[in-house]
C-alpha cells in the first residue's frame, strides 16, 4: 500500500477526534484487520429515544464509522474517502447497553468500495441493525496505475471477503 497502512490506534484517534459529532460517542476500535473492522459504541444517556431504546442516528453513526474503518483498513490513511450511499435496516430496538458494529468489505474497486456492517448488542446474538454502503475513494498521486484493482462494475482483480 503506497500510502502506508493504518493502525487500530490511528483509526480510533481519527474516529474520535476528526468528526466531533461522532467523536463525542467515545467509540472504541475492537478489531482492525484489512477488510474486517469492529467498533464498539459504549452506552451513554445521550443515545436514548422515546421508548427507552437507542436512537437510530447513533446506530447510523456507528455503522458509518465502522464502514469508514473497513475502507481505511484497506486503502490506508485517505481521510477524504466519503460515503456515497448507505442503506440501513433497523432490525430490533436495542435496549440501553453497549453496541458492537461488525464491518467487512464486500468489494474494493479502484474508485468505489462497498461494505456491510451488522450491529449487535454486546453479549447478545440478536442483530440490532444492518447497513450496506459505498465509499468513494479519492485518487492518490502516488498510487501505481491499476494499483488496487478494477472499479466496482468491472470484472478484474479485486479484494473481497466471502461470507462467513
Amino acid at each position: 500500500m503506497t500510502r502506508g497502512t493504518m493502525t487500530a490506534e490511528e483509526f480510533e484517534a481519527l474516529a474520535t477526534r476528526a468528526v466531533p459529532y461522532v467523536g463525542q460517542l467515545g467509540l472504541r476500535v475492537r478489531r482492525f484487520e484489512p477488510g474486517r473492522v469492529d467498533v464498539e459504541l459504549p452506552y451513554c444517556d445521550l443515545l436514548i429515544r422515546p421508548g427507552g431504546t437507542i436512537c437510530g442516528p447513533a446506530l447510523f453513526a456507528l455503522a458509518d464509522i465502522t464502514l469508514y474503518g473497513v475502507v481505511l483498513s484497506l486503502v490506508g490513511r485517505l481521510e477524504l474517502a466519503v460515503t456515497t450511499d448507505l442503506a440501513m435496516h433497523f432490525l430490533s430496538k436495542p435496549p440501553p447497553g453497549d453496541l458492537l458494529g461488525e464491518g467487512r468489505i464486500l468489494r474494493l474497486g479502484t474508485r468505489l468500495a462497498v461494505g456491510e456492517v451488522l450491529v449487535r448488542s454486546l453479549g447478545r446474538s440478536e442483530p440490532v441493525a444492518h447497513a450496506v454502503g459505498t465509499y468513494a475513494i479519492p485518487e492518490s498521486r502516488d498510487e501505481p496505475p491499476g494499483g488496487r484493482g478494477s472499479r466496482v462494475g468491472e470484472p478484474g482483480g479485486t479484494l473481497e471477503i466471502g461470507r462467513g
Copy 2:
C-alpha cells in the same frame, strides 16, 4: 385523527428534547403540514468532518427526524413510531452552513409509512443528500378499523402526495 393532531411547536419540542443525540443539534421545524415537513439544521462546529464539510451522521439525523415529522404530521403523537429502513444517498459535500431537510410522504398505510427527504444547503439549489425510508406505525387502540387506509403493499384507500 383519533389521537389528535400535532403542532409544529409540539414536534419541535419532541425533536429537540426526546432524543438527546439529535436534540443537541438545535433543529428548527420550518414547515409542519400533513405529509410535508421541513426541518432546519443550524450549523455548528460539532458537525464538521475531515475536508471541512458537514459529516454524514448529522445529515442522517436531519433526514431521520424530518421523516419522523412527516409521519407524525399524519398519524398524530405516536412517539413510538420507528424507522425500519432508511436509504441515504450523499450527493455533494456540504460546506459549513445551515441545512434544510424537505420531507414528504410517499405512501401512508395502516402499518407502514414511506417518505423521502431532500437535504439542501440553505440558499442553494444544489441538493446535498437524499433519503427514502420506512416508518413502522404502532397499533393504536382508539383507531377505528381500517382507519388510516390499507397497508403498504395493498391497493386501497391511502394518502399520498404526488411529485411536484
Copy 3:
C-alpha cells in the same frame, strides 16, 4: 408452523410457475432450509446486456426470489408475502455463466422479515451483487397470538441467524 411447512420442490414450483417474468429464467432451488435458501440462475442469452455481462434486472429477480424463499422457508406457504423494500449493490459485472444467490434471514418479526442475499458467479468467490430487503408478512387467521415473535422494531422473541 400452523400453515404447514414448504419443501424445496414446492418453492421451486412456485418460483418458476407463479411469476411468469421470473419463471422463464428457469431458477433452480439449491438449498431450502429454515432461514437459509440458495437459488441458481442458469445462464441464457436472455440475460445479456451491453458489454457482454448479465443485466441488473435479472440479478434483482434472482435476489428477490431468493429472499422470498428465505421468508417462506420460515413462515410457510404465505404466497402473498410482498417485498416492501430492497436495496441492491452491484459489485462486479458478471460474465456470462450461471449465478447463485445465497440468502439468509437477518430478522423475522410478526409483520416484517428482513433478509440478505449475496450473488456469486458459480465457481468463483468474487461476489457479483448484494441485496438486503424487507418482506411484509400477511396476517394469518390460524396463527396463535404472538406466534412468530415480536415485530421488527421491538425487542422480544425472534429468529435470527448470526453472521457466518
Copy 4:
C-alpha cells in the same frame, strides 16, 4: 456534449433491443429530456404475480431502465454506464394495467450520477414504487478535463434539477 446527444428513439431502441430480458417488456419512452425521462411499461400477462398484481422484478426493470435513460439523456451514448446501487420501495400493489416510470436526475458528477424514479399506474395518482440509485459513468477519452463537473461527494459545478 462531446459524445453527441441521444434521441428518445435511439434510447427506446437501446432499451428494447440491447437488453433482451428487459426488451421483451416492450417499454415505450414517453419523455426524453436532459435529466427527465419517462418510460411506460405496457401491461402483459408476463408481469403477473400471486395475488393478481404486477411482480416486483418488472417494477425494478422499469425503474432501472428509466434511470439509465436519465443518465444517458445527460451524458450521451455511454452504453457501458452501469448501476452501482438501487434502493427500491414498493408502495402499493399495482393491479394489472400499464405503468409509467418518471425519472429525474438528483446529481450528475464526473464519475457517478444519482437519480430517482417514481412509478405509477397510468391514470392514477397513487404511486406504486420509488427507486433511487447510482450509475457509474465510464471515462471517455474525448471528454475535456473536468468536463461534466465534480464527482459526487465534492462541491463544485454540477447539474441538478430541484424538486418539482
